[in-house]
Symmetry: C2
Subunit: 510 residues, 2 copies
């Protein structure tokens, strides 16, 4: 690299590091707001978040950044395709181009609308008052369509919104994939519904908070979460958040009458954190110091939560220590009974509490509603009834009110309509695909889990996924790590095998 290119390259790194740090500062403010902030601190926090967002937006759309990216193009074109700098330039350019396509006035109007919409939802939800949020949702839908038009000239109207979270995926690809998945899941749900049900009452005894937190942290540590580079705090809606390559935190919520809530939540957020903590330190504070997509991120939270944490091998090893932590509550239990209890399948109303088999049906309903709204096939006013109707049809359950219906998830009240949900199901599919590849490469992984050893799995994931950060698109990463593009076969095979073991032989056809 000549001196002039080197200087320009350093300027690019400096500009993107500043954006990285501003994002981290916002994240810290959000973390504090969700964990420790006193109740009356909220008004100022909103003002402070808006200030940092404004500073970040100025920098994200700075024409000098655009010129710098142009000037560096010939240099980047001269590099081998797999050079890290090609990826850094690509990610920086795509961030810049997305930011400048959206007019500043629209961006700030949308941020303001989303903030008001969120506040309206916070009040409307406990009051079961859909009418109160309806005008906000209408405006969100209008603005989501507008945003899509800013971002792309052709393709399905949802594609640009999906692309923000899951780069490269389109409605054309996802619709048939989700249809096939939905059919298979419906078949599993139907068969399981005819089998004797698992008893999970053991999860609903009284489990004191402090012991639950201590046990969860013990598991997180065993998975490989480094408490020198992270920590766990309590919150209402658990999340993982990142302030730096070396400061990646998780949060959890404890229900003293639901042992699974905090424990599997901690495993889930630990999975997200292991991903971020496993990124190549050479990428620290660059545009590559992030996960590849929503779906890939979710694949890691679900892999650790479900494929590892809800496995028979895991509980074979961990059940005795859980009994030691809760000797009276678990006096009469067994490892196998507990394994069954944490894998009970039953149609339910709440996505975030759904079991592995029904979970994606919740997502597919929402994905379909988003497409219908964006395509103009469904009006906002019809949304509550459409919600109930699709739950009736797909899961055979009917929410008693909109609280557990269309008012359930924050997504449409805290961001655009479109692109919000597909990542969850992509994550489940990818988790199984990655895990199958890991097992092929390292067949001893499962026995190791049965001994409470996670190092071989963690190493495979770090080498094949984590360390790359955002260097590869999700599609490229899948091929590199597993040898093939996205496929639902490993996921369906995983579900069939696992739940046949619990409920008796199952098939994937209705």
């Amino acid at each position: 690299m000549d001196t002039k290119s080197q200087a320009k390259w350093n300027e690019l790194l400096e500009r993107t590091r500043e954006l990285y740090d501003l994002t981290a500062i916002s994240a810290l403010m959000g973390w504090d707001q969700s964990t420790y902030m006193p109740p009356k601190g909220g008004a100022a926090r909103g003002r402070q978040l808006a200030l940092v967002e404004r500073l970040a937006h100025e920098r994200r759309t700075d024409p000098a950044l655009g010129r710098l990216l142009d000037e560096l193009q010939p240099f980047v074109d001269s590099l081998p395709l797999d050079d890290d700098r090609v990826a850094i330039h690509r990610e920086a350019r795509s961030g810049y181009e997305r930011a400048v396509r959206i007019p500043a006035s629209f961006a700030s109007a949308f941020a303001e609308h989303v903030s008001e919409s969120f506040m309206a939802w916070i009040e409307a939800r406990p009051a079961n008052n859909f009418a109160a949020v309806q005008p906000y949702l209408q405006k969100t839908l209008d603005m989501s369509r507008q945003m899509s038009h800013y971002l792309a000239d052709s393709g399905h109207i949802a594609d640009p919104l999906i692309d923000i979270a899951d780069q490269g995926f389109t409605v054309d690809e996802l619709r048939p994939l989700f249809a096939r998945l939905g059919t298979a899941l419906a078949a599993l749900v139907k068969q399981i519904g005819d089998r004797p049900q698992v008893d999970n009452s053991v999860l609903h005894r009284h489990y004191p908070k402090a012991s639950q937190l201590a046990y969860g942290e013990q598991v997180a540590r065993a998975f490989g979460y480094d408490f020198q580079r992270g920590r766990q705090d309590e919150t209402h809606h658990p999340f993982m958040t990142k302030f730096d390559h070396d400061d990646v935190r998780i949060t959890t919520r404890v229900d003293e009458y639901d042992l699974g809530n905090a424990l599997f939540g901690t495993m889930h957020e630990t999975g997200h954190a292991l991903y971020e903590l496993g990124i190549d330190p050479a990428y620290a504070a660059t545009v590559l110091d992030a996960g590849a997509s929503s779906g890939v991120h979710e694949s890691q939270s679900r892999l650790w939560e479900n494929i590892v944490g809800r496995s028979a091998a895991f509980w074979q090893h961990y059940y005795p220590s859980l009994q030691a932590a809760f000797p009276t509550q678990l006096a009469d239990g067994s490892s196998e009974g507990f394994y069954h209890a944490v894998n009970r399948v039953a149609p339910s109303l709440i996505r975030t509490e759904a079991d592995e088999v029904t979970y994606n049906l919740h997502v597919i309903i929402r994905f379909g509603l988003e497409l219908d709204l964006l395509e103009g096939k469904l009006a906002i006013a019809e949304l509550p009834e459409a919600w109930h109707a699709r739950y009736d049809e797909a899961l055979g359950v009917h929410a008693p009110s909109d609280v557990d219906g269309v008012l359930q998830d924050v997504h449409w009240y805290g961001g655009p309509i479109g692109g919000s949900f597909q990542g969850y199901t992509l994550g489940n599919i990818m988790a199984a695909q990655f895990y199958a590849a890991a097992l092929t490469a390292q067949p001893a992984i499962e026995q190791a889990i049965g001994r409470g050893e996670f190092g071989t799995l963690h190493t495979w994931l770090r080498e094949n996924i984590y360390r790359h950060g955002a260097k590869y698109t999700p599609g490229d990463l899948l091929v590199r790590a597993t040898g093939q593009p996205l496929t639902i076969d490993p996921y369906l095979a995983y579900l069939r095998t696992k739940y046949s073991g619990i409920y008796g032989p199952l098939t994937l056809e209705g």
Copy 2:
């Protein structure tokens, strides 16, 4: 106000609010760093703090801000002197003028030096290695002198540094004041040294952390600290910090074998917090939404900690509840014995742990050393010996090493030499002056404290001090609140009366 002036005025408020918010964001990062940040998060935090400081510095020295202040001058000159806007304009102008007097290159070099100096101190202190910090201190001294020259052309070289923390105070005023105070304190210390000593062993039994924290919060609440607008967390070096008018937090440190540590620390930080929380809400997020000076701030922490929290009346009411919180540890104690224990006077090595009578002697030593260093009468190399010699002379104690000598306080390793210490003693003096005025206005305050009621005192303080924020200079505020300028007489009278009650009749002359 005409439309044009109104627009300019709004712009001033907006610009200063942005600076207020950037300061708050830095404070949040500092709070997190001192309470919850995982060990390896420090490197990025330094980078993030530097970024926000850079953004704030750009705004603080923006020539457009200077022009705006000039343009608003005629409007402000047309207002009555006591109008809030006159004070807002004055404080905004003084902040701007101080910032622009210091060249940006010097400001960033000094910030970098201070950060390195602090890291050097963190390593040198446990190792008792003065030689390691000596070059840093030398540079700090050189830069402090340089900073003073930037800020003012005449007067004592320490005056501009003192003025930053305690506006309006000068060496000419403080030197004779501190000399008179030092003589009187020395006389008290000498007489007390000849009397039978108080037994404070009761404080050093085992007091579990959780109960200490709960008791401290109960007292903070009783003083009037609003946990809707604040909270308490644990840290190593306790402090009060503010993120907004409605988010003012305190921190504490618990020693399970020293009951006084957390309890009086909590009272102290609560005093600082009550001041900030009591500022007129109309001043929220303006330049007036801050205390008047270091000294006035310290007067409130010391008033609540010492004059209230270490009073006989307080313990008359609170001792039974303390016994209930620690029934075995305090089974054999009495309210009077406990009152004596928490007021034991004895020369010691550590400023922050010193009793009320000897405390200011520690400050006066440091203030004198700062002046001698700045005046060139003392070299950095001579500082350790000068420290020991002055402790020998003033307190009759000799630190076994520099750890409890010149390496003791963070101040000279975290900021300039000069202006760092006088605020502590000014605070003690003002606390007594304010309290005497409060008692004159509301003689029932003392009986109320004996009933555990602090509302009358809190209201007087809020009405006469807190609500004004930074509207008045410390000198003006003292005259408004107490009817006279700074005087040490109430403070000396307070100490003589209180400690005569504990140790037998004392006089203020040697």
